[in-house]
Point group: C2
Chain length 194, copies 2
């Protein structure tokens, strides 16, 4: 892979502040499987950095230890493609740290795009988001965990993406599946012309 | 959900015959997480039945016991949406049983569509597959596990789908992410017009 293949998109997976089942604002637990899957998905679509956001130090340590196994430990020899996926994954405290890091690295404050399972009056289509992503300006795609991101964060986004609605009214995709579908909708392309 | 929302697509996740890392033909282990995620993804896109295909009786029992927990046990009260996802998931021995079951239920032998991580001379685009799916004829989407489906199965498919190529040359998506992206490409639609 050449450096130029990198897109102008970074991804954050946020564990605080999110809702739990009963509507309280909580810190959700990190699912290491999400870190694995979303790292591989981000790598596939040439996302710049995948940020795992949690303020809990024990959870940060857990993710870092898991990643070290694959980056430097036995895992790096056993499965080099997993190592490759984790090279651009980072653990940070809060969403503001993500924005500051991107601003420093990319030289401009990223515009935030938040996919929501709920439809808002200002929700935009994937087509509109693809158009917005043209050009060089950095964009940060923010995913919530648990029962979704705290409402204020969603409302302050530069763009809210329409929900992925399937064909059945069933609206309970795993977040890792949502990340896969949304990155494909925003960045994927047909590889065969017919 | 009304019955009419069901599509003419069924999905199979095959654990034999598949390749392992060194190219031998093996039976891969069932990952219960795949069963969870792919059931939820299939439910979202109104797939008819999701078939988990393994000839190993112990593995079949494992999957059935896990599903019983969510369909009838404590899980069915704790998380009714998981129950809903598993209602159309089945465990069977071999791919031929899947074809026979669909033929009986849908009244016609399904055409098989196999997405492959490798490009074949007869690979077709997602656009071509969307066109092929118009109409009522049943179609079976077959996914391999491990290092991919035995070559003969792929070559006998009615249609081979082009690989999902991201932007980086990295070609190691988890099968559950591939199922999400492919069902979205074949069945998904924008919910907001702009």
């Amino acid at each position: 892979m050449t450096e130029s293949a990198q897109t102008n998109i970074d991804v954050a997976l946020v564990h605080f502040p999110v809702y739990n089942k009963t509507g309280d604002i909580v810190t959700s637990s990190v699912t290491t499987l999400d870190v694995h899957d979303i790292s591989r998905i981000c790598r596939t679509f040439a996302v710049g950095t995948f940020y795992v956001v949690t303020p809990l130090e024990t959870q940060q340590k857990l993710v870092r230890r898991m990643m070290e196994h694959w980056l430097e430990g036995y895992g790096s020899e056993y499965n080099p493609t997993r190592k490759e996926a984790f090279l651009t994954t980072r653990v940070v405290n809060v969403l503001d740290d993500v924005v500051a890091d991107i601003t420093e690295h990319r030289g401009a404050r990223p515009r935030t795009i938040i996919p929501s399972a709920k439809r808002y009056p200002k929700s935009r289509s994937y087509q509109a988001a693809r158009v917005a992503l043209n050009g060089d300006h950095p964009h940060l795609l923010v995913f919530g965990t648990g029962w979704g991101l705290e409402k204020g964060i969603v409302e302050r986004a530069d763009m809210i993406l329409a929900p992925i609605e399937g064909l059945s009214g069933y609206n309970h995709l795993p977040v890792r599946a949502a990340v896969a579908i949304i990155l494909d909708r925003l960045l994927g392309r047909e590889t065969l012309a017919e």
